[in-house]
């Protein structure tokens, strides 16, 4: 009997990747819960890992100027470029507004510190119960509850991104989330997952050392990279290695001996999933567990000697020049282009160091620089699926709709990204890795479904009011101008003449472009056809 693989099972190929990061420890939280959790892994958000086709480095021919963008270079195109890169979903009215505001005021506005968003629920502050005193079925209830809450957190963050006012905040939070790539499934406790996300958001434009310490000594990271299991008698190398390689300095900046020394320094820290034995202001841990399991002996690390604990290790790392360069390079790659301009990155790093590792000044320098707006970088970035789809929802003015539970999560998950669930310590590889012969068709399908719900599956009725959107543009009665304005919104690359003509043809469906009348019957259909066509082009994948 031939066996057929249906789409669902195929896509479940990668579900098992969650096992890679689970490391269920029979001792925690209780052996019974560990077993139950192992069985329930199936119900977690789906994780599909992609990896990068590495691009060969080519000579950079973008302007290497380190100076500020001149005021008269600020126009609709530069405004669009800035907005696209820092906030998903730039509408035509956003472009108009910020073009009028000017470069300086726009950047200040984007970097403004905003009030903290409402927490998803009170349970983010719920203490961890004593599982050992529970019955098996009570424990199972908690498992199910925690899983539901973790998924709620994903939805909560997605809604924030979709509905937040135009600013860099959520993108910056996503950047650091990817940087610290902590997977919610292994972390397990929704309180810890929320805590890390909250800490990152609060500090995303603040001080890097503070951010690093808060994340390092938070419950989520302690669980994720096993620092809470690191004891004097068997120090765990996982966290210290990634601290140096992924969070601060990069590959080949440390030796195996350094890892071993740092491992011994990071022993004795513990958490129950919400509370830790570490005191942030006092810069130390304490308690019975700490006394028993911390290695108080002498260590040699990166050329320094002493009786180091975790904070000391971080301090020594922060003295290295490599840190500023490493972080600034990552910022560059996220916001500008995947191949960094060494000269420019060094300038960013100098600002970072001189500013005692404050993040905002670096961002201000970057976003007001001539280099950032170089024509080479227009349309040179493939946005991650979350930004792309949620951005498109905003562009189509659909962000205030009620979406069925987990609908967006699932749809976007199929393209390789679930917020709070990065596939492994390296985060999402991004760039060209987002596009392959599976994800590209799915991106197109999802995009066109948003415009016209008759495309794709009919679980939800999309009512994109395209006539209203078009009416807000420069000249809604001019077919060619409409095409140009839509191209500004949907494409990162400048519109070529040939493509412009083709789009006008698509809009007019054979009629003469001067016959266009936005108030006519059927204008709605024509506009949808135009937008669907545009979203199906490779050009629509670039910002």
């Amino acid at each position: 009997m031939p066996k057929f693989i249906d789409r669902r099972s195929f896509l479940q190929f990668n579900k098992g990747i969650v096992k890679q990061i689970t490391h269920i420890d029979p001792q925690w939280p209780t052996p019974q819960m560990a077993r139950l959790h192992q069985n329930d892994i199936e119900l977690e958000p789906f994780i599909f890992q992609l990896d990068s086709p590495n691009k060969p480095p080519k000579k950079i021919n973008a302007s290497s100027s380190l100076s500020k963008l001149s005021d008269n270079s600020w126009n609709r195109e530069t405004a669009t470029h800035l907005l696209n890169r820092i906030h998903p979903g730039t509408t035509f009215s956003d472009i108009k507004k910020y073009n009028d505001l000017g470069l300086n005021a726009t950047v200040s506005e984007m970097l403004k510190i905003r009030p903290k968003p409402d927490k998803p629920s009170d349970w983010v502050e719920e203490t961890i119960p004593n599982f050992k005193d529970m019955t098996a079925s009570q424990r199972k209830e908690y498992q199910i509850l925690y899983r539901k809450r973790r998924v709620m957190l994903v939805d909560w963050w997605m809604n924030l991104i979709m509905r937040d006012e135009v600013s860099i905040r959520e993108n910056m939070t996503l950047f650091w989330h990817e940087h610290f790539a902590t997977n919610a499934q292994k972390v397990y406790f929704p309180q810890a997952v929320y805590e890390q996300n909250d800490v990152i958001r609060e500090n995303c434009l603040g001080n890097f050392r503070t951010l690093l310490r808060k994340v390092t000594f938070g419950p989520a990271m302690m669980i994720w990279l096993d620092s809470r299991r690191s004891k004097k008698k068997s120090p765990n190398e996982n966290f210290p290695r990634e601290l140096m390689e992924l969070f601060t300095m990069g590959v080949d900046t440390y030796s195996q001996e350094d890892v071993e020394a740092a491992s011994r320094a990071f022993t004795g820290y513990n958490t129950d999933g919400y509370i830790t034995n570490y005191h942030f202001e006092a810069r130390r841990a304490d308690g019975e567990y700490w006394q028993k399991h911390h290695d108080f002996s002498h260590k040699a690390f990166l050329g320094k000697q002493g009786y180091f604990d975790g904070d000391d290790i971080i301090d020594i790392i922060m003295e290295q020049d490599a840190v500023a360069t490493f972080i600034c390079e990552k910022i560059y790659k996220w916001f500008v282009y995947e191949i960094p301009d060494e000269n420019f990155v060094n300038k960013m790093a100098a600002i970072f160091r001189d500013g005692n590792y404050e993040i905002a000044p670096v961002m201000k320098y970057l976003l007001t620089s001539e280099h950032f707006y170089d024509i080479n970088f227009r349309g040179s970035q493939i946005p991650n699926p979350v930004s792309q789809i949620l951005g498109l929802i905003r562009k189509l003015n659909l962000h205030n709709m009620e979406y069925p539970n987990k609908y967006l999560q699932r749809s976007i998950g199929e393209m390789g990204m679930t917020l709070l669930y990065p596939p492994d310590v390296n985060g999402w590889t991004g760039h060209r890795a987002w596009i392959n012969s599976i994800t590209l068709p799915i991106r197109k399908l999802l995009a066109t479904t948003l415009v016209d719900e008759k495309v794709g599956d009919n679980r939800i009725k999309f009512e994109a009011n395209v006539v209203e959107i078009a009416s807000g543009m420069s000249d809604s009665q001019n077919a060619r101008q409409l095409v140009k304005d839509f191209a500004l919104v949907f494409f990162g690359l400048p519109l070529s003449e040939q493509l412009e003509n083709k789009l006008v043809e698509t809009l007019m469906d054979g009629a003469d472009e001067y016959d266009w009348d936005i108030n006519a019957d059927g204008a709605d259909t024509r506009l949808k056809e135009l937008i669907k066509y545009m979203l199906r082009l490779p050009e629509a994948q670039l910002i």
């Binding site: 789409r7 195929f10 098992g16 195996q256 040179s380 066509y533």
Partner: protein, 510 residues
């Protein structure tokens, strides 16, 4: 000299760099030179065990007390393991692999890795897929370079069938070339095909601007076009192809099932890259490893049976790779940390069925407590390119930038540059699959040239088939048994050569 020792000597000499002029027997029938078109119809399925598979617990050195000393909790007892040689046993999960090894359907290569081992997943994986070695950073993959050799114009000229298919979580870097990427990521045939078809539009034919944005646009256009072109072909192969066995519904099982269906449906893609993650067993290795190896074992076995049942077995070769092995001493979390070398496993009916190399010397470890390298991982690539696909040695050297001797594991090497060893005696390998329908492979080897005759008797002693194979030179030979009009039941296969007769029982199940 026993054949096994002979091969070990040959390997040792070739690693040292000198080529031992072995007598060139068994001239391959299909002398294939590398041309503009992929001539061979052979297929390799590469399975990457992501995370770093613990070789020591997979291929257990049951006679080594150091192993048990260093792994008081993780060490696997002799009584639990599955022995395949006096000093070697498989992990208890590898039940099918043990049978396959005994039937000569599996070869094992010890201690595969590279000098200046890197213990970072990220970096070591890159080193493996680019073929760069530990001291350099390359940006193209070995498969990308190999395929560019045959498809220099890709994607300007797209061949009929996808050149490389990748499934599951994967590092596409392996297929990356200077300009583009040779892999097609695999999705389910039917629904994806519809999605692709409906959403393809012919965009503008303007050349992309000469900016970074333009470069990205070119990349996108290439993926868009090739996805569209190949999806139709893959869809068709998926519809025509069949699976003749039930595959386990595990991650790796499903990947192999899909690959088998495509091969069965006539897709000529020569390279399948499959991915199977979860091997980074820093903690709780005991339970995790049991499940991982069992899934792999069952999936590969199902695949071989499926291919055997469709007469496609001689076309396929399965090879496992992993970015590194693991440390000898277990850590405090009943797991193991990153290590260096590990074994590579090959499955198929065209293998010698040996173990190449020795159990690692656990008394001679590196400072960090890691196993020494016995074979450079690029030798595996040489073996695949030269012996399996028949690329010329010069081409292979160009692709890897240096010469790495192939390891003599493949029994029908397509290249003449790399001669095979002479068997030391007349031997009849177990037929595979058994029970069988519709075909089975009878494999035998002879130390000298001889007339060979195959006779098949039914259980009552009546001859049901007789085939005179004529004169066969010394070496390994294969005959595909395809009965017509036989009843189900047990049969006896008799191979006559060099004035000797060897028998074997086989079961035909209608």
């Amino acid at each position: 000299m026993k054949r096994r020792d002979f091969i070990k000597t040959a390997t040792a000499l070739s690693i040292a760099g000198t080529k031992v002029p072995l007598l060139a027997f068994n001239r391959p029938k299909h002398l294939r030179k590398s041309t503009g078109n992929w001539g061979s119809d052979r297929i390799v399925l590469l399975i990457k065990l992501n995370g770093g598979n613990d070789g020591l617990n997979t291929l257990i050195p049951i006679q080594d007390s150091i192993y048990y000393n260093k792994r008081p909790n993780l060490g696997i007892k002799v009584s639990d393991a599955l022995p395949i040689q006096y000093d070697t046993a498989f992990h208890p999960s590898l039940v099918n692999s043990q049978h396959l090894f005994q039937q000569g359907m599996m070869s094992i290569i010890h201690g595969v890795g590279y000098d200046h081992s890197n213990l970072s997943h990220f970096r070591s994986s890159d080193i493996w897929v680019t073929g760069s070695g530990g001291d350099r950073v390359w940006n193209t993959g070995w498969l990308g370079r190999m395929l560019t050799n045959d498809y220099p114009d890709y994607p300007a000229n797209i061949p009929d069938h996808p050149i490389g298919i990748q499934m599951g979580s994967a590092n596409l870097l392996e297929f990356q070339t200077e300009e583009t990427n040779m892999a097609t990521m695999m999705g389910n045939s039917d629904s994806l095909y519809k999605i692709i078809d409906e959403n393809y539009v012919t965009g503008s034919t303007d050349p992309a601007p000469q900016t970074y944005g333009g470069e990205e646009l070119n990349y996108l256009r290439a993926i868009d076009e090739s996805t569209y072109e190949f999806s139709g072909i893959i869809n068709e192969a998926g519809r025509k192809g069949i699976n003749k066995v039930e595959y386990p519904e595990t991650r790796i099982g499903l990947q192999l099932a899909v690959a088998a269906k495509l091969i069965s449906g006539g897709l000529t893609t020569p390279i399948y890259r499959l991915n199977y993650g979860g091997f980074d067993t820093h903690a709780n290795q005991w339970n995790d490893h049991i499940a991982l190896l069992q899934e792999l074992d069952q999936a590969v076995f199902a695949f071989l049976k499926d291919m055997g049942g469709q007469g496609l077995l001689d076309k396929v070769l399965v090879v496992t790779t992993s970015e590194f092995g693991r440390r000898v001493k277990e850590n405090g979390s009943v797991g193991t940390d990153h290590g260096t070398a590990g074994p590579t496993f090959l499955y198929g009916s065209s293998l010698r069925g040996d173990i190449i190399g020795n159990q690692p010397d656990l008394s001679d470890l590196s400072r960090a407590g890691n196993i020494s390298i016995q074979h450079d991982y690029r030798q595996i690539y040489s073996t695949i390119m030269q012996d399996w696909f028949g690329l010329a040695v010069n081409t292979v050297t160009q692709i890897l930038e240096e010469s790495y001797d192939a390891i003599p594991v493949i029994n029908f090497p397509l290249t003449t540059d790399h001669p095979t060893a002479i068997p030391s005696e007349f031997k009849l390998y177990p037929a595979f699959p058994n029970p069988f329908n519709p075909t089975a492979e009878i494999r035998f080897e002879i130390p000298k040239g001889s007339q060979v005759k195959i006779t098949v008797y039914n259980i009552t002693g009546r001859i049901v088939m007789q085939k005179d194979l004529g004169f066969k030179p010394s070496g390994f030979h294969r005959y595909i048994l395809g009965p017509k009009g036989w009843a189900s039941g047990t049969y006896i296969i008799q191979v006559e050569a060099l004035q000797s007769i060897l028998n074997q029982r086989i079961t035909y199940l209608k």
